[in-house]
């Protein structure tokens, strides 16, 4: 009986952390979905996340205002997204390589800023956990057995990330702008003929992707971990890009991928906590191995936007 309770508690713990850990991936990968659906591969997500994490943290550290922190992260992300848009759309640079440049810039610049303005790892009090308590009452939603602790006790940033998924789906599939995004990513020549401004649509999606990547970084530094460290994203941005492929360029596919990935990560953390006989280094490796395997599964590959990574120039063909 007692053992059963522990198993339940561990499962609840894994699911709770899984939902939590999916947050940065969701923001970044949904943003990247917009960019890729319009035909631009932004591989610099990792660098933007780092800059966003720093900006959000620094503002909260100085002012204590969490909303301002998120706005700062979004603004920094937007500027970097705009820079990426300029380089890949106007200057038609090779997108894989310019993404690496943006990653290196973000990594170096965020570390430089961290070292010159903070110096040591500091903490802030980030977004509070919402337990869904009734006003004045003694009852909290998180007290509901099993379901409560899994779905409640997360910060508003976590719920925001999950809310973003249906919103993104609606924007991409049900709005005129979404139609423009899809047509620009599928057949820019045809879209251009129909009077859609290809460059403008792409500028908007890549900038939006930057904004969301910045918020993804802030979700780490002022919601999940409440610290800033050099290279604190440690590859999350690249995983987010992989999740877009994994989710075959749809928001709900991305959600499934992000949840799977973060659950395995949470499982891996719990394996370490429980001291099971698996070397922790091997456990840490599993999500990456899984990503490669999943990328190799040839399902729904045909959904890849036809013009992905291809610059568009008027008058071609």
């Amino acid at each position: 009986m007692n053992e059963n309770l522990t198993v339940v508690a561990i499962l609840v713990g894994i699911l709770h952390s899984g939902i939590r850990l999916a947050t940065p991936y969701l923001y970044a990968a949904i943003g990247e979905t917009f960019a890729q659906r319009s035909g631009v591969l932004n591989l610099g997500v990792e660098g933007i996340m780092l800059m966003g994490a720093y900006a959000g943290f620094y503002v909260v550290f100085q002012t204590g205002n969490l909303v301002l922190g998120v706005l700062a992260a979004a603004a920094v992300g937007g500027v970097l997204g705009l820079a990426m848009a300029f380089i890949s759309i106007t200057l038609q640079a090779e997108q894989g390589i310019s993404g690496i440049g943006l990653f290196m810039f973000g990594l170096g610049a965020s570390s430089l800023l961290f070292k010159t303005t903070l110096g040591t790892v500091e903490g802030v009090s980030g977004f509070p956990e919402l337990n869904g308590c009734l006003p004045g009452g003694n009852f909290c939603m998180s007290d509901i057995p099993v379901v409560g602790p899994i779905f409640f006790g997360h910060s508003v940033m976590v719920y925001g990330a999950f809310l973003l998924v249906p919103v993104a789906w609606w924007v991409i599939n049900k709005t005129t702008w979404g139609l423009s995004i899809r047509s620009v990513g599928q057949n820019p020549q045809a879209a251009d003929t129909l009077g859609i401004n290809v460059a403008r649509v792409r500028y908007m999606t890549v900038t939006l992707g930057g904004v969301l990547a910045g918020i993804a970084g802030a979700s780490l530094s002022i919601s999940l971990l409440n610290i800033f460290q050099e290279n604190m994203t440690n590859g999350m941005g690249f995983i987010a890009v992989a999740l877009v492929y994994f989710g075959s360029w749809t928001p709900f596919g991305v959600l499934a991928g992000a949840l799977l990935f973060s659950l395995i990560n949470a499982l891996q953390l719990w394996v370490q906590v429980l001291g099971l006989n698996i070397p922790s280094d091997v456990a840490v490796m599993l999500p990456y191995l899984l990503t490669i395997i999943v990328l190799a599964v040839p399902f729904k590959r045909s959904l890849q936007p036809a013009a992905l990574t291809k610059p568009f120039e008027r008058g071609e063909n």
């Binding site: 591989l43 380089i87 640079a93 310019s98 290196m104 610049a109 050099e230 490796m285 040839p298």
Partner: protein, 400 residues
């Protein structure tokens, strides 16, 4: 019909060749702006950087020591990019090579002559790097897996395998005995150390230091670089020989020609009967092999043991991309470009000590260089397209 001009000043070509320089200057200017905003003096910083990297014997030696892995990695990157695949996984391939070299080195120990042991170690590391690169190549060729993403994942896997091995099977027994358990391997046998420049100079009979010979100024520093004890090892020479071999391979052999053909136009290559997926795997494998060789040389020439994977790879997997791009993806162009960026890395370190500006600044500048190089490439491409348009026009005129 108009007569075409027979000679014109090659302004386009001049612009093409100066674009990388513009990129570096632009990156440094943005870097200066950032420093200025952080209330640091950019001129002071850059002076410390340049002086630290290029004016003294030890600075020059460190620059060349760092240029060595950059050149190896850069050669691999150049092969991959020429073959139309993007290899972001040099970091992991370098780690795989370094790990396997260490394993081979620990296994053979002192049991054979140094030259044979070193050859085996390098061969092992190169092979392992090659395998680590060929896996994403295979996935790309056979299962259409995006190689950018798979190589990034392979990096993380290599890092974790490295940690696992260094905490377990490969850990230095002395660390276990002392109970400190720092994850690094035992030191390899001395016979496996790559000869340093000073050893060669000694063997050739140069034993006097610059001071003793009464030399002064930069000449004395240069003399010291090659004769006095520094960290500079023959890995640099191996890398330069490799650069020449890669040049010959890519431009003077059928296989090299096919790699470039696949990179330029896979569809046309397929019609011409080239097995495209085989050449994709080959370019990724070779690319990984050179990164693996970089790892080998770092272990044998510099560290003599394996320790934390990310400290061994030290970002060379990414800065090597910068070196390759800056060298216009030409094996010989990668030589000066590696030295320049080796200098930038060393200079960053000196700058940190001299004027307290963190070395990570260099990473940001490297990123900006990449952005500038790929961003300004459009002008070279436009010119190339113009040339093609011009020549078809001429042909059309000739037919008319």
């Amino acid at each position: 019909m108009q007569k075409r001009r027979t000679f014109s000043f090659p302004i386009g070509k001049v612009i093409d060749l100066s674009l990388p320089l513009v990129a570096v200057i632009g990156a440094l200017l943005i870097g200066a702006l950032i420093l200025f905003l952080l209330h640091k003096n950019p001129i002071e910083a850059y002076t410390a950087m340049f002086a630290g990297a290029f004016t003294t014997k030890n600075g020059l030696a460190d620059t060349l020591v760092k240029a060595t892995p950059l050149l190896f990695v850069g050669l691999g990157i150049a092969i991959a990019f020429r073959g139309g695949v993007i290899n972001i996984g040099a970091e992991g391939q370098l780690i795989a090579g370094a790990l396997f070299t260490t394993w081979v080195g620990l296994t053979i120990g002192d049991s054979m002559p140094g030259w044979l042991g070193i050859t085996l170690c390098i061969a092992g590391g190169t092979l392992m790097g090659g395998i680590w690169g060929a896996i994403p190549g295979y996935l790309k060729a056979k299962l259409n897996v995006n190689e950018i993403l798979s190589t990034v994942m392979m990096n993380q896997i290599a890092i974790q395998i490295g940690f696992y091995l260094l905490r377990g099977p490969m850990i230095d027994p002395a660390e276990v005995a002392a109970g400190t358990n720092i994850p690094h391997s035992a030191r390899l046998a001395k016979s496996l150390d790559l000869p340093r420049f000073t050893d060669i100079a000694k063997a050739l009979g140069f034993t006097q230091s610059a001071k003793k010979l009464g030399m002064e100024g930069f000449g004395a520093q240069l003399y010291g670089l090659f004769v006095e004890p520094t960290r500079l090892h023959i890995g640099l020479l191996i890398a330069i020989v490799m650069a020449i071999l890669v040049y010959i391979f890519l431009w003077r052999t059928t296989i090299g020609y096919r790699i470039r053909a696949v990179g330029l136009n896979p569809a046309a290559s397929r019609y011409a009967g080239i097995n495209v997926s085989r050449y994709v795997m080959l370019s990724m494998g070779l690319s990984g092999a050179f990164a693996g060789m970089a790892g080998s040389i770092e272990i044998l020439g510099l560290h003599h043991r394996m320790f934390e994977p990310l400290s061994v790879s030290a970002g060379y997997g990414f800065s090597g991309i910068v070196a390759a791009l800056f060298g216009k993806l030409h094996p010989l162009g990668a030589i000066p470009s590696s030295i320049l960026f080796g200098g930038l890395l060393v200079g960053g370190d000196k700058m940190q000590r001299a004027v307290q500006i963190p070395q990570v600044m260099v990473t940001a500048v490297l990123g900006l260089v990449v952005l500038f190089v790929v961003g300004t490439d459009i002008w070279s491409r436009r010119r190339a397209n113009q040339r093609i348009a011009d020549s078809t026009e001429t042909e059309a005129e000739a037919v008319a």
